[in-house]
C-alpha cells in the first residue's frame, strides 16, 4: 500500500475570508494558529468572531504546538473533483490545545491510522497563495 501524500498544487484551494486571514498568514509561515476567547478561554469549532460560551467579541489567535491526536478519519478513493490524488485521508485532529480541526493525514500507509494516533503538523502548498496544514504521525518522542 502506498504512503499517503499531500495533494498536488492545483486542487480547489481555500479562499481566505475577512476573519480567517490571520490563520492562513500563519500557515504561510508554517505556524499553526487556533482561536481562543480572550475573556473565558473557550476554543471554538472553525473561525469565529463571537465566543459561543460567554459571547465576548474578542477572540485571539494563539500559536499551537502543532501536535495532537487522530480523532476520526476516512480514506477517500473517489474524490469530489478529479484534481485530487487518491487515496487521501481527510481527518479530524484533536490538537493538544483542545481544539478540533479538519485536516488530512500524510506520511504513512492508510492501514496505520488508528484512534489516538499521535500527530504533528506539516505544511504543504495548495497553490501560490495558500499553504495547507497536514498532519503526519509524530516522530519518536515528538508531541508526547
Amino acid at each position: 500500500m502506498s504512503i499517503l501524500l499531500p495533494q498536488p498544487v492545483g486542487i480547489p484551494a481555500p479562499r481566505p475570508s475577512l476573519h480567517s486571514e490571520a490563520y492562513w498568514d500563519g500557515c504561510r509561515r508554517h505556524q499553526l494558529l487556533y482561536q481562543r476567547c480572550a475573556e473565558c478561554g473557550y476554543r471554538g469549532l472553525g473561525a469565529f468572531t463571537v465566543c459561543a460560551q460567554c459571547h465576548a467579541t474578542s477572540p485571539v489567535w494563539e500559536a499551537s504546538t502543532g501536535t495532537g491526536s487522530l480523532y476520526s478519519w476516512t480514506v477517500v478513493w473517489r474524490p469530489p473533483d478529479p484534481s485530487f490524488r487518491v487515496p487521501y485521508a481527510p481527518a479530524v485532529v484533536r490538537l493538544d490545545e483542545g481544539v478540533w480541526m479538519m485536516s488530512a493525514i500524510i506520511g504513512c500507509e492508510p492501514e496505520k491510522l488508528h484512534d489516538g494516533l499521535r500527530l504533528a503538523v506539516e505544511f504543504h502548498p495548495a497553490n501560490g497563495e495558500i499553504t495547507l496544514p497536514y498532519f503526519a504521525p509524530a516522530r519518536d518522542g515528538a508531541g508526547q
Partner: protein
C-alpha cells in the same frame, strides 16, 4: 393542519426537458390535483422557487417563504397556517440540470468552504468521519452498514417508480463488494443522484374537511449545530457543556415531535428516514430513541428495518435507489412516502394498517436533522 395532497413527478437519472423550477411546477400541479384543490386557492408557497411558482401559477398576492429542504419547508408552511396567514400552502421542490459535470460529484455534495475544501471533503467523507467515531466507540461494523444499504436498495429495486428499479435484489455482501468511495462507505452505501420534482399541499383543519384523504401533522421539529460542510464534523462537539453532542443531532427534535404527538417510538409504524449514507440510518435509529445508543448496528442486523420488521425504514428506496434530485426535493420525498404509507397506497412495501409515520431529513455529517410525524387520525 393537514396534508391534503402529495405528488412525485417522474424521477430519472436525467430529465432533459426540465430545469429545477419547471419540474417543481409539475410536482405542484400534481399535488394540487391529488388534493382536489384548484391552483388559485393557494395563498402561500414555500420552497426555494416560491416566487417563480407564485408568478407562474398566478397566485399573487400570496405569502412566500424561500425555505430550502423538505421538513423545514413543511414546518414553515405549517406556521403560515397556524398563524392564520394562509389557508392552503403549497410546498414544492425540484432538481434538474444541476449535476452536469459527471467527472465531479454532484455540486450540492461539495460546498467550497475554506476550512474543508483543500482536504477534498464532500458529503461522503463528512458522513464517514461521523460513522468512524461510532464504529470506534460502539464496534459498529461495515456489515451492519451494508445491511442498511441492502435493505433500502432492495426496497427501491422492488419499487416501479424508483430510478434504480430492478437493479437488485441486494445482499450485504453485494454492498461490501462494491468499490470503496470513502471508508467505511462503499459505492452502494452512498446515495445516487438523479432528477425530479415533488410537492405537498398543506391546508387548515377546516379546509381539510372537504379533502379526499387528509393526513395529519402530529408534530415536528428541527435541530442544527451550525452550517453544513464548513467545519470539521465532530461527533463529540458540544457548543455548551450542557448540550447534546453533535453526533446526536435530531435527538432533541425527535423528543419534541414525540411530545407534540403524545406518542413514543413504539407507536411508529413506519419510518421514512433520510438515507444519504447507510450509517446515517443506524445513527438516527439511536438518536430518535428506536434503540439504545450503540444498539443501532445490532438492531438493523436483526432485520428490524426490513419490510415486515418491527420498524420498516425508507420503504420506497430513498436517496439510494428511489431518487436523489438535489437537496430540496429529496428531503421532501420522505414526507411524501410517509403520506403514501398512511393512505395505504404504496404499490410495494405497503405497511399494513400504518397509522403513524415518522420522517426525517439531514444527518450528523451535515450538522442538522429534522423530524416530522404524520398520522391517519386527526389529533
Amino acid at each position: 393542519m393537514a396534508i391534503a395532497g402529495v405528488h412525485n413527478t417522474d424521477q430519472a437519472r436525467a430529465l432533459p426537458d426540465h430545469d429545477s423550477t419547471s419540474i417543481a411546477l409539475v410536482g405542484a400541479l400534481g399535488a394540487l390535483a391529488d388534493a382536489g384543490i384548484t391552483p388559485h386557492e393557494v395563498d402561500g408557497v414555500v420552497g426555494t422557487d416560491c416566487a417563480q411558482i407564485a408568478l407562474e401559477l398566478g397566485l399573487g398576492p400570496c405569502a412566500r417563504r424561500p425555505t430550502s429542504l423538505g421538513i423545514p419547508a413543511l414546518l414553515d408552511a405549517a406556521s403560515l397556517i397556524i398563524t392564520g396567514q394562509c389557508n392552503v400552502v403549497l410546498v414544492a421542490a425540484g432538481g434538474a440540470g444541476i449535476h452536469v459535470d459527471r467527472a465531479s460529484t454532484a455540486p450540492w455534495t461539495r460546498p467550497a468552504n475554506e476550512l474543508v475544501v483543500g482536504y477534498g471533503l464532500f458529503t461522503a467523507a463528512e458522513f464517514a468521519l461521523m460513522a468512524r467515531r461510532h464504529m470506534l466507540t460502539y464496534g459498529t461494523t461495515p456489515e451492519q452498514l451494508a445491511t442498511v444499504a441492502a435493505t433500502i436498495r432492495t426496497n427501491g429495486h422492488m419499487n416501479p417508480d424508483a430510478v434504480y428499479h430492478g437493479r437488485g435484489p441486494f445482499t450485504p455482501e453485494d454492498i461490501l463488494a462494491s468499490r470503496m468511495i470513502a471508508e467505511p462507505f462503499h459505492l452502494l452505501d452512498c446515495a445516487t443522484t438523479s432528477e425530479g420534482g415533488c410537492a405537498v399541499v398543506l391546508v387548515t383543519s377546516e379546509r381539510a374537511g372537504g379533502c379526499r384523504e387528509p393526513l395529519w401533522i402530529l408534530g415536528g421539529a428541527s435541530d442544527s449545530f451550525g452550517p453544513a460542510y464548513t467545519v470539521a464534523p465532530v461527533w463529540d462537539f458540544q457548543p455548551r457543556t450542557d448540550s447534546l453532542p453533535a453526533g446526536l443531532v435530531g435527538a432533541r427534535a425527535a423528543d419534541m415531535a414525540f411530545a407534540m404527538a403524545g406518542l413514543g417510538p413504539a407507536d411508529v409504524d413506519v419510518a421514512e428516514l433520510y438515507d444519504p449514507f447507510s450509517f446515517e440510518i443506524i445513527r438516527q435509529l439511536e438518536a430518535f430513541g428506536f434503540c439504545e445508543p450503540g444498539e443501532g448496528g445490532p438492531f438493523v442486523e436483526d432485520g428490524n428495518i426490513a419490510p415486515g420488521g418491527v420498524l420498516p425504514v425508507t420503504t420506497d428506496g430513498g436517496t439510494m435507489s428511489f431518487s436523489h434530485p438535489g437537496i430540496n426535493a429529496q428531503q421532501l420525498q420522505r414526507v411524501i412516502r410517509a403520506a403514501e404509507q398512511l393512505r395505504g397506497s404504496c404499490v410495494t412495501n405497503q405497511v399494513d394498517g400504518a397509522e403513524v409515520a415518522l420522517c426525517s431529513n439531514g444527518g450528523a455529517g451535515a450538522l442538522f436533522c429534522d423530524v416530522l410525524m404524520l398520522g391517519r387520525e386527526r389529533p
